[in-house]
């Protein structure tokens, strides 16, 4: 897995959590690569470790109780796990950005949209001027105000703030995410926004510096379905225009199918299948992926029963022996209870961790 078309290379990443009731391995020996400009969907259910993966890459895990037990994450050749906080902070927002599930609670409630966007733009001291910010209109647009990001933002008296004007760069950034009334929105506080607009503001904030990598952790799960469709379309459009890679974390298979170039399926802290999107949905090789796709409701009531997966998601404090999916797997055989399968290549750009698929 070498070559300059790989933006991110995760090798053997293991993350553990210390809880009151024992130690949990949230990520177990994960290896994964992300190419430049691709959208990789990371799909899995609760507890599979997908959020932990996102937070590990941008290094925002709560260090106690979490700890990185092993592994490296190479970003453009540098192991970012070894960087100190200062260097990592310099990467965040400029090279690696992250957006989260609930956009309303991801914004500071006491500052306006415009103030927070201004903060995102001003943070970049020592910015690489050759890389122009992502705005729609001309590159001569005056970008970034003179003040430092740490400048205190005073509270505005209620009623006084409506007329405040914002820099052109902020207005353009909001327009680029299809917000039709950027002047008004820039003056609003987060609690005055709807979910769809708030998420677009987050996207604008995350992409304004043209990061090479955007990590999106369930960005549409809290949105209504019609709004979700718009936001997915927007993310794809921005990816096309900016060229960022996107790690799209979701529990929803259908959403993954809509946006992904490649899909990584996770189960119980492990990566169980990795393949191109078209390939995965047509020919899922791991029993879990297959069962997940089959259990997606798409029939009418009179067209027979859904193939549900029996059992429950395992408790990570005491995972099953051998293959973690074996208690729920309809193809399980002896080897599955004893040994742990590893990810192996089974075709062009398709990897599975399953003894069924391993060539003998």
């Amino acid at each position: 897995m070498n070559g300059s078309d790989w933006l991110l290379n995760i090798s053997d990443l293991t993350v553990e959590y210390k809880t009151g009731r024992g130690k949990i391995t949230a990520l177990s020996h994960l290896s994964l690569g992300v190419r430049r400009g691709e959208i990789l969907a990371v799909v899995g259910e609760s507890g599979c470790g997908k959020s932990t993966l996102g937070l590990s890459i941008i290094n925002l895990l709560q260090k106690p109780p979490a700890s990185i037990a092993s592994g490296e994450i190479l970003f453009n050749g540098t192991d970012i796990l070894k960087l100190n906080e200062g260097r990592m902070a310099a990467l965040r927002g400029t090279e690696i950005s992250m957006i989260f599930q609930d956009p309303m609670s991801s914004l500071d409630p006491v500052y306006t949209v415009g103030q927070q966007l201004r903060e995102a733009i001003n943070t970049k001291e020592g910015r690489d001027d050759k890389k122009k910010p992502y705005v729609v209109s001309s590159p001569d647009l005056e970008y970034g105000a003179k003040a430092r990001a740490s400048r205190l933002m005073l509270p505005q008296l209620p009623g006084a703030r409506r007329e405040r004007r914002h820099g052109e760069d902020i207005i353009e950034a909001l327009r680029a995410v299809n917000i039709s009334d950027p002047e008004k929105v820039a003056n609003k506080y987060p609690h005055e926004l709807s979910g769809g607009i708030a998420q677009r503001v987050m996207i604008a904030q995350a992409l304004v510096e043209r990061p090479s990598l955007l990590i999106a952790d369930e960005p549409t799960s809290a949105l209504d379905v019609t709004i979700q469709a718009q936001v997915l379309k927007l993310i794809k459009k921005l990816r096309d225009e900016i060229g960022s890679s996107v790690i799209f974390i979701t529990h929803d298979l259908a959403v993954a199918a809509q946006v992904a170039d490649r899909v990584a399926v996770m189960y119980a802290a492990q990566l169980v299948e990795l393949s191109g999107a078209g390939e995965l949905f047509k020919r899922p090789l791991h029993p879990y992926s297959e069962a997940l796709i089959l259990s997606f409701p798409r029939r009418y009531k009179d067209q027979g029963r859904l193939d549900a997966i029996s059992g429950d998601v395992p408790d990570l404090r005491a995972p099953p022996s051998g293959c973690r999916f074996h208690p729920r797997c309809k193809y399980a055989f002896d080897r599955c209870t004893a040994e742990m399968p590893h990810l192996v290549d089974v075709g062009s750009d398709h990897q599975v961790a399953c003894f069924l698929r391993e060539k003998p």
């Binding site: 989260f100 609670s105 006491v110 990001a149 740490s150 505005q156 008296l157 209620p158 009623g159």
Partner: protein, 336 residues
């Protein structure tokens, strides 16, 4: 709606409160002293003198009539006089009140300066030795009776080390600064009277510190709890994800949010401090409303008692109003 309408609305709501408080105080003082005239004029007074006093002060009329006269006097600025000769109550209040204001404000400032940073540090290092020692410190302050700390401070810094003066606002012999607000520190500052300034500040430090040692725990605890809660919020993590440095996130985002409940507590605290801190004023002979009120009670001086109660009520109400306004300004989610 605008901040002025907001204040206006709140002020309207205070009127019923004021009426209620004055009536209650009036009624209590009315009910608890059976023989007002005797109390004022002494046991040796003649019947005629007492009768004259009773007529003058409408003391034989039913309570609501007396209350009516009282309220109409109040509104006209006539808060009564100390019976048996003496100055009008309002005049007395004007003399004593600024001293309490000065003490209260100084105390609040010290409380903020000590309390908030300690709260932030305790939150940052929570569940470590630093956190525990801070908590011990403020709990000790909070659970001690105010006079204990005051006396200790007085003893150590006033008598043993002779560092600070032990009584009053100004050293005997010095001429008070020109009266603008009645607060010596402010007045000396405004008139450029540096001798008086240094002296009055020196006198202020010990009582103000003694007072704030009792209360800074509330502020520190509130700040600590608030910070801990805010630091768990999603937007803090999102702020780091934006690439902001730790100090920016802590001060510009976390503290700013965490201060919202703390500031409102401070407003309320200011209100109750303004009402007169009897114990501290007694110990340091600080000529404030608390001292005045104590004397009034000892002398059965009703107009004075009701007057000081009214001041106390007004102070608490103002404190509430300030807290409400600050809260609305600081938290944009509050509809104004």
């Amino acid at each position: 709606m605008g901040i002025l309408t907001f204040i206006g609305k709140r002020l309207l709501l205070t009127i019923p409160v004021i009426i209620g408080v004055t009536f209650l105080t009036f009624a209590i003082s009315f009910l608890f002293v059976p023989n007002v005239t005797v109390a004022w004029l002494g046991l040796r007074s003649t019947v005629a003198a007492r009768a004259a006093l009773a007529a003058e002060f409408h003391l034989n009329d039913p309570i609501y009539v007396q209350y009516f006269y009282y309220m109409s006097n109040l509104i006209h600025g006539n808060w009564g006089t100390i019976p048996g000769g003496g100055q009008p109550i309002l005049y007395n209040i004007e003399i004593f009140f600024p001293a309490t204001v000065e003490l209260a404000i100084a105390s609040i400032v010290i409380t903020i300066v000590i309390g908030i940073p300690l709260g932030v540090i305790a939150a940052r290092y929570h569940n470590t030795k630093v956190d525990h020692s801070i908590r011990f410190f403020y709990l000790a302050g909070y659970s001690s009776p105010p006079f204990l700390l005051a006396l200790l401070g007085l003893l150590v810094f006033g008598y043993i080390f002779k560092f600070f003066p032990t009584q009053g606002e100004l050293t005997v012999g010095l001429i008070a600064p020109k009266h603008i607000t009645g607060m010596y520190v402010v007045d000396s500052l405004l008139t450029g009277n540096w001798i008086d300034l240094r002296d009055s500040v020196w006198h202020l430090i010990l009582p103000a510190t003694a007072l704030s040692l009792t209360y800074f725990g509330v502020v520190a605890k509130m700040t600590r709890a608030s910070m801990l809660e805010v630091l768990q919020k999603d937007f803090i993590r999102a702020a780091y994800a934006k690439g902001l440095r730790g100090s920016t996130v802590i001060f510009k985002h976390a503290l700013r949010n965490a201060l919202i409940p703390t500031i409102t507590i401070l407003g309320l605290l200011l209100g109750s401090l303004l009402g007169g801190t009897v114990v501290i004023e007694s110990i340091f002979q600080w000529p404030g409303i608390g001292l005045f009120a104590t004397q009034a009670v000892e002398n059965y001086d009703f107009p004075a008692i009701v007057g000081t109660t009214l001041i106390f009520a007004l102070a608490v109400v103002s404190g509430n109003l300030i807290a409400d306004v600050l809260y609305a300004v600081m938290d944009p989610r509050i509809k104004v």
